[in-house]
Point group: C2
Chain length 199, copies 2
């Protein structure tokens, strides 16, 4: 059982914009393009193995902004971006500062709201995942927190061939990281690169 | 005949430090580690194809800081970092603001000092390269200038599995770039990724 993370990034490692909102969940500039996610949504057949690996996890962890960007208090009518049957089909632990009751969706996804930090969320996700992996689903701030804490076993970046020039980047505030290259694969619209924890 | 560029970078796309000097040509922090170049110097057998591709060019272009970092006027005794027989074995066009006579080295390398900008340097390098490629040898500022100007046909990054957290990065100041993924290869100490110009 490993702790993995998948993140779609631009060439300049931007994974989302800074001004996230309900209207523009990836930020106004990036939300208009969403080109870093095109490999998955527009070309699933070219990247079937990588998409299957993402959804194979037994539990997921995500940041509050990924579930519900740019808002303070909970809107209890908000049930996430993914409709009534989210693609996770597993427990999803949402890092947040305000408690909320678990939100049971169709297809096996339940959103749990965790207010006591990434290590507590990881412990709960490990318990839920059993023998399967725990996946850090994003966004970049959450991924960087896991990298800083040394809690990630495997990092998979999906590098779209474009730059934004601004936004929230993977590895921001993560100096002195050491990883080990594992694999890479280029498909017509993206470069998939995997590293694992060193030592 | 293509215009190519090879650049060794960290995971966070740092290619050199900010405080370059003769004592620390990659900057004081990165100069101490030089870990982004270890794949080439410590593991040449694992990466022979990529090293051969770098040196196959018929002419090279480099920034002043790569030839002679952190100095204003020319010290005419300075003949580069590479000894009397530099690894280029071809004409090298050095972008600079002060004229200097060409510097003929052993083994086919001649340093030419170009004061009228990257397009003029590219024209001279193309003439010198004949049927062979022109390689933009670095540093990151020079590479970014070529990317901004749309003058690069093929970009090859060699991604070392570590972060620095500060320094001069590839793609800094290069928004709205669009490339096409070409290939990738992981060896035990580095990930080689190639893109080409879009369209």
């Amino acid at each position: 059982m490993a702790v993995t993370a998948d993140m779609s990034v631009s060439l300049d490692l931007v994974a989302s914009g800074e001004d996230q909102s309900l209207e523009h969940p990836f930020g106004s500039r990036i939300g208009q393009a969403q080109a870093i996610h095109a490999w998955m949504f527009d070309h699933p057949e070219e990247n079937a193995a990588e998409i299957a690996a993402i959804t194979a996890a037994g539990a997921f962890i995500m940041g509050r902004n990924m579930f519900d960007p740019g808002r303070g208090d909970w809107d209890l009518d908000w049930r996430g971006w993914w409709g009534e049957d989210p693609p996770y089909h597993a427990p999803v632990f949402v890092l947040c500062s305000r408690p909320r009751e678990p939100l049971v969706m169709s297809g096996g996804t339940t959103f749990h709201f965790v207010t006591d930090g990434i290590e507590a969320a990881l412990e709960r996700a490990r318990d839920a995942a059993g023998d399967r992996d725990v996946s850090v689903a994003g966004g970049p701030g959450t991924l960087n927190a896991f990298l800083r804490a040394g809690l990630l076993d495997e990092l998979r970046l999906h590098i779209a061939p474009l730059t934004y020039g601004e936004g929230l980047r993977v590895f921001d505030g993560v100096p002195d990281l050491r990883l080990v290259p594992v694999s890479s694969r280029t498909t017509p619209h993206v470069t998939h690169v995997t590293w694992r924890r060193a030592g």
